[in-house]
């Protein structure tokens, strides 16, 4: 994968050189835009991270999961995966932290470890995508998108259980 990125980079630059593009000037122009939008994202990151950290710091996420675990075992969902399911749409790094925790306590090949792997890789961080992408162009009205994406996340949770049971048991 890393080699792929290197090759892609070299190819783009060589193609530009071949087409007589002013490489240096183009790169700096594009990079300046990148710095501007990157810095502009900080307020949006702050807004999304504050409640996530608040819940985690209080142990609220863990407390909710402990309460719900018995009911979830009923449909074959390991309770350890629930914190990941709550955090997955909110924060990619928080859910990655939970994934690491599940791996080290249950093992990556346990039912919980496998399901958590599927949830981490099978969907992206809805709130991050929405706040960052819309924030960068000043879009404040998402219309139906948040609803659509969160519903799709629930579909992913169901589909993950289904495909895992079908293929690996």
């Amino acid at each position: 994968m890393d080699n792929g990125i290197t090759l892609l980079l070299c190819f783009i630059l060589l193609f530009g050189y071949y087409r007589k593009v002013d490489l240096y000037d183009s790169f700096v122009t594009g990079a300046a835009q990148g710095i501007k939008s990157g810095l502009g994202l900080i307020p949006y990151l702050l807004a999304i991270l504050f409640p996530v950290y608040l819940w985690q710091g209080l142990g609220l996420t863990g407390a909710i999961c402990d309460k719900l675990a018995p009911w979830l075992a009923f449909i074959g969902l390991p309770g350890e995966v629930l914190p990941l399911m709550i955090m997955r749409p909110l924060s990619g790094s928080a859910s990655l932290g939970i994934l690491t925790d599940i791996f080290s306590r249950q093992g990556p090949d346990s039912p919980a470890g496998l399901l958590a792997s599927i949830y981490q890789g099978g969907t992206d961080t809805t709130f991050f995508v929405l706040t960052v992408y819309c924030g960068s162009v000043g879009v404040k009205n998402y219309r139906h998108t948040l609803k659509a994406c969160l519903t799709a996340d629930f579909v992913v949770y169901g589909a993950g259980l289904f495909w895992l049971a079908l293929l690996l048991k």
């Binding site: 593009v21 990148g34 710095i35 807004a47 093992g107 090949d109 599927i118 992408y133």
Partner: protein, 194 residues
């Protein structure tokens, strides 16, 4: 909708903190979130700057246009509201490809560029256009075939079969993506957000 979820999370967190006698939790979370936001934002700015620089080269050389042309039939079907020769289609393609190959860091700059181009086309209305909604739904579903981070983590934690989850994960991602596209189409005509 986002405001309501945000407020709800903060109110619940605040109330829980007071009941638990941990009133300082809010302040601690604010400090931690501030630190993480600035750190992540600066990191993102650096990566963004690099890839948008490369992207500018690809754009000026006509490479983006070439790639978009090759995938035009599929993209036009997914984004009927964008003109078939619009540069936004090229950015969308690069973004989806990078996501597909698990290069999350490379995908974000292309995605931001695509948003900017679609926003220009829509006339800076502050409201997500049809094309933006479809694009956001696709990105939030985040279909990946090589989940580099998860694979690496499984290897690092001594998994006997690191790739065991791959097939069910791809099928799960595919199910989620199709669901996102269908729900986007179904809800598109509703005027209200939520």
């Amino acid at each position: 909708m986002l405001s309501k979820i945000w407020l709800g999370m903060i109110l619940i967190g605040g109330a829980y903190g007071i009941l638990k006698g941990e009133g300082s939790a809010v302040l601690q979370a604010a400090i931690a979130a501030g630190e993480a936001a600035v750190k992540n934002g600066l990191q993102l700015a650096g990566i963004l700057a690099f890839w948008l620089g490369v992207m500018e080269v690809a754009q000026r050389s006509g490479l983006v246009e070439k790639m978009a042309k090759a995938c035009r039939p599929l993209l036009v079907k997914l984004f009927p509201s964008l003109p078939p020769d619009h540069p936004a289609l090229g950015s969308i393609l690069l973004n989806l490809t990078a996501n597909f190959l698990g290069m999350g860091n490379a995908a974000t700059p292309f995605g931001l560029k695509a948003m900017e181009q679609m926003d220009q086309l829509a006339g800076h209305t502050g409201t997500a256009s049809d094309a933006m909604c479809t694009f956001l739904a696709l990105n939030a579903a985040g279909l990946t075939i090589i989940p580099t981070t998860v694979l690496g983590l499984r290897l690092a934690q001594g998994s006997q079969w690191p790739a065991a989850f791959l097939l069910p994960m791809v099928l799960t991602g595919l199910t989620g993506t199709i669901a996102a596209l269908i729900i986007d189409r179904l809800l598109r005509r509703s005027k209200k957000g939520w």
